[in-house]
């Protein structure tokens, strides 16, 4: 309730969070995160799943599973290299081995079947050759660059080149930080994770696009009015779309969280968990960056233009910052050419019903 009331105040600029003026703070914060990510990546590196280095994963479902028996079954089939054995839920055992010849994999499957008294064909096996990961990595990198290029061109056409640059910087920022978190925490990276990373690109941009659309609307014909500088107009746009950004992020995170919960809780490691974990982290950073990085960066870029600098000067001379306008409630933030004299008109149209309900 309180939140929905905030929407109106944000819209008119009464409650205004100054995202843009404090941009140095956000830049510094993100810079710190990026440095941490780089550090984690260079020192710890990513923990790669078997898809990238080759190996086999066995999944046994039986009431009697336990780690020690799994260990001895693997040993009895001649596997001497180190294996990772996890118990998932009450009745599942996941055994991960290094790259093995196919005969050893079959032997291990049979040994596990005997150990836990199930049919060999009921044991799930995933075997990946060591060169598989190279292919995935290569494709992911192509996908990344192809995506950045196409989207940059598209945004440059649909919006303006500087918006395209800011959006792309924000996206790279998101992916980098997400990967950094993976390195830091030591989450396993699988092809599903990589796809998750790539999807973040789309999500993060989607979020930024909505904010930028409003920025563009607010800054249309801005030089002719001299009521607010580019930064102020952009800041208003961020505030106006804040409720949407928040709601969108919550609604996007809810299903992802439910996949994460179900995937990790019921199935253990696997496609669902890997994908949703990457998305969960990526969505969070994506929301952050579209508000705190993309728009301030856009403002920084645009404020360097002579026309915008001149405008900022004119606004400053007129004392035209929202704070100094006459009335706090009708807060003189005329946003753009087509947001017509709203402030005078707005209250008049709605008031009676409103007070009655209160």
């Amino acid at each position: 309730m309180a939140l929905s009331g905030i929407g109106g105040r944000l819209y008119r600029g009464e409650t205004s969070i100054d995202f843009i003026a404090k941009k140095r703070r956000w830049y510094a914060f993100s810079g710190l995160l990026i440095m941490l990510s780089a550090l984690a990546l260079s020192t710890q590196g990513l923990k790669l799943g078997i898809e990238f280095k080759g190996g086999s994963v066995f999944t046994v479902k039986s009431a009697s599973v336990n780690v020690a028996d799994g260990q001895s079954a693997l040993k009895s089939s001649g596997i001497t290299t180190e294996s990772i054995i996890q118990k998932i839920g009450a009745d599942k055992l996941r055994l991960q081995t290094t790259d093995l010849p196919q005969t050893t994999v079959s032997a291990a499957r049979n040994a596990l079947a005997t150990q836990f008294k199930v049919n060999a064909s009921d044991i799930d096996v995933q075997t990946v050759g060591p060169s598989w990961g190279k292919e995935i990595t290569r494709k992911a990198i192509y996908g990344l660059f192809g995506f950045l290029l196409v989207v940059m061109l598209y945004l440059a056409m649909a919006f303006e080149p500087k918006m395209a640059i800011s959006a792309i910087v924000a996206v790279i920022h998101d992916v980098f930080i997400t990967v950094g978190i993976y390195a830091l925490v030591g989450f396993e990276v699988t092809p599903a994770t990589v796809i998750g990373f790539l999807t973040i690109l789309g999500y993060s941009l989607y979020d930024t696009v909505v904010v930028f659309d409003k920025v563009r609307e607010n800054t249309k014909g801005i030089t002719s009015t001299a009521k607010m500088s580019y930064s102020q107009a952009a800041n208003l746009a961020v505030n106006q779309t804040l409720v949407r950004s928040f709601n969108t992020s919550v609604i996007a995170l809810l299903p992802v969280a439910s996949i994460l919960f179900v995937g990790a809780g019921l199935l253990g490691a696997g496609t669902l968990k890997d994908l949703s974990l990457a998305l969960f982290i990526g969505l969070a950073t994506g929301t952050y960056s579209s508000i705190f990085i993309a728009t301030p960066l856009l403002a920084t870029l645009r404020e360097r233009e002579p026309a915008m600098q001149a405008l900022a000067k004119r606004v400053a001379v007129r004392g035209g910052a929202p704070e100094s306008t006459v009335d706090k409630n009708t807060a003189g933030v005329v946003t753009s050419t087509h947001t017509r004299e709203i402030n005078e008109r707005g209250p008049r149209n709605q008031p009676k019903r409103k007070s009655r309900r209160r």
Binding site: A192, I195, Y206
Partner: protein, 521 residues
């Protein structure tokens, strides 16, 4: 897509019409789906259990993968997989030359053994030969002379007794084998090198009883197609054996060359089927041999390739094997559906809590979007063989967020317009004009992402990109043809138009402020 802020107000009648049109199209497609009989989703192997194997061709660094060779390999592997007799088995090649084999329901290691085996090429002495149709017995006294595809003359022996190495049991099996039936020419199933083999020629024209294998395919060192004009043989295949192969082949040829027809023939058996059964004219101890027999250039090249690479025209490495039991498949399906359900309920609760009456619009829109998506899955399963995988389900669940966001963008715009003092009926239109643009641009970015993900994704995760793209597209349809018209219709209702507290458009929840200082609620 230009920001065209015209004030054209759509008539509610038009809104009703567009919902009706959507309904009609939906029913039409649903009827089509039912008519085609595809009322069940095609599930991927990870949801129903099965084995999938990804093979990659081995090529020298920088060399290109030979597309024709890959296709040939796919055909051969398909033949082997079909011998398992599992319905809906699939063998397909990717653009990069990778071959993907999927066999549903069966997670035994047999599939892996079959697919992974590269050399099932053997040389066996021919014991008896007959026309391909049933009821030709090895002991048949009538001498039928047929000309097999390779042009080798074959004939059935005239003697009434069994040829050496043939017993009554083999003869009965031989008699019952009908090589004109395609199912009997799939080969690949059982080929025990130590036992006699009853087999068809690949074209089904002849059938054979063959002695135990004497030379194995991996004992062939080299093979090439050569045009032999000096002897007037046309296209021939030259092959040479390695040390062991030379001895074995020498022994085989010196033994059979003195025998009568057809025992003087040596069959080249590939995946259990006779490729060619040339007559041995002389003992070959040199370790190299020439196979002649009216070959065309293609025939000769193919045969040489088969001899060289064993069964497959190119060397393959196993990249990934996934064996999923039907139990785990069912578990994954349930988990995916559960996650979807929880996600959907959470989204519905949140939008009802925040948007109140407008939340009903998003709930309705999500239901419509869900139905359209499900229907698309059904129809695409039929049309382009779309199968729903776990990653695909994840994509669909994630897209709930994207779909819901379109409504949020619109609702927020709508509320902004009302905050600007417009009547709801006007706001519905002006808000839409602006939201439409944002939705189009944002969804387009989403579509680009999905398309690129699809082209660059590997394996099963492609399904994720596909459903993501599909649902984004569905989102566009729903927003344009359902959500917007639905809001238009609702805006005519007093409940919404007057901004009742639960409508989500009340002055209070919009924060249209007249009562200053009470904002701290």
């Amino acid at each position: 897509m230009s920001a065209n802020i015209s004030k054209a107000t759509k008539k509610p009648a038009k809104a009703g019409r567009s919902i009706a049109a959507l309904l009609v199209v939906f029913i039409a497609f649903a009827a089509l789906a039912i008519f085609q009989g595809d009322t069940k989703l095609k599930l991927g192997l990870d949801l129903r259990g099965g084995t999938s194997v990804t093979l990659a061709p081995k090529v020298a660094a920088g060399a290109k993968v030979d597309k024709a060779a890959v296709d040939q390999a796919v055909a051969i592997i398909r033949q082997r997989v079909n011998s398992l007799g599992v319905a809906e088995s699939e063998v397909s090649s990717q653009s990069n030359g990778d071959i993907i084999v999927s066999v549903p329901g069966n997670s035994s290691s047999r599939v892996v053994d079959l697919v992974g085996a590269t050399a099932q090429l053997r040389f066996r002495q021919v014991l008896a030969v007959g026309a391909g149709n049933a009821a030709t017995a090895a002991t048949s006294s009538a001498t039928t002379t047929t000309t097999s595809k390779s042009g080798t003359k074959v004939s059935t022996p005239a003697s009434a007794s069994f040829p050496s190495g043939v017993n009554a049991q083999l003869d009965t099996a031989f008699k019952n084998l009908d090589c004109t039936v395609a199912a009997n020419r799939q080969g690949g199933a059982i080929d025990d090198p130590a036992a006699p083999l009853i087999s068809c020629s690949r074209d089904g024209a002849s059938k054979y009883i063959l002695a135990p294998a004497e030379v194995e395919g991996n004992q062939v060192a080299k093979a090439s197609a050569v045009l032999d004009n000096t002897n007037g043989n046309g296209w021939t295949v030259l092959l040479s054996f390695n040390g062991v192969g030379t001895n074995a082949f020498g022994k085989l040829t010196s033994r059979v060359t003195s025998l009568g027809s057809p025992q003087n023939q040596a069959a080249i058996v590939l995946d259990g089927l006779v490729v060619s059964a040339p007559r041995i004219n002389e003992a070959i101890n040199s370790g190299s041999a020439q196979i002649t027999g009216n070959f065309t250039q293609t025939d000769a090249t193919d045969l040489a390739n088969k001899l060289k690479y064993g069964a497959l025209p190119l060397a393959l490495t196993v990249q990934e094997i996934n064996q999923i039991s039907p139990t785990l498949g069912a578990d994954q399906l349930h988990a995916g559906l559960l996650a979807g359900l929880i996600g959907l309920i959470l989204v519905v609760l949140y939008s009802l809590m925040y948007y109140r009456g407008l939340g009903l619009v998003s709930v309705g829109s999500l239901i419509v979007a869900g139905s359209i998506t499900y229907l698309s899955f059904l129809l695409l399963g039929k049309w382009i063989g779309f199968t729903l995988t776990l990653a695909g389900i994840a994509g669909a669940i994630v897209s709930i967020g994207i779909t819901a966001d379109s409504f949020i963008v619109y609702f927020e715009r709508l509320r902004d317009e009302v905050r600007d003092g417009r009547s709801l009926r006007t706001a519905v239109e002006t808000g839409w004009q602006r939201a439409r643009r944002t939705i189009l641009v944002a969804d387009f970015v989403s579509l680009i992402a999905a398309a690129l993900l699809y082209f660059f994704a590997v394996g099963g995760v492609r399904g994720f990109a596909f459903t993501l793209g599909l649902t984004t597209f569905v989102d566009l349809i729903v927003v344009f043809f359902f959500t917007k018209p639905f809001v238009t219709v609702l805006s005519r209702m007093a409940f919404y138009a007057q901004g009742r507290p639960l409508s989500g458009l009340s002055a209070h929840s919009l924060g249209v402020v007249t009562i200053v200082g009470k904002d701290d609620l």
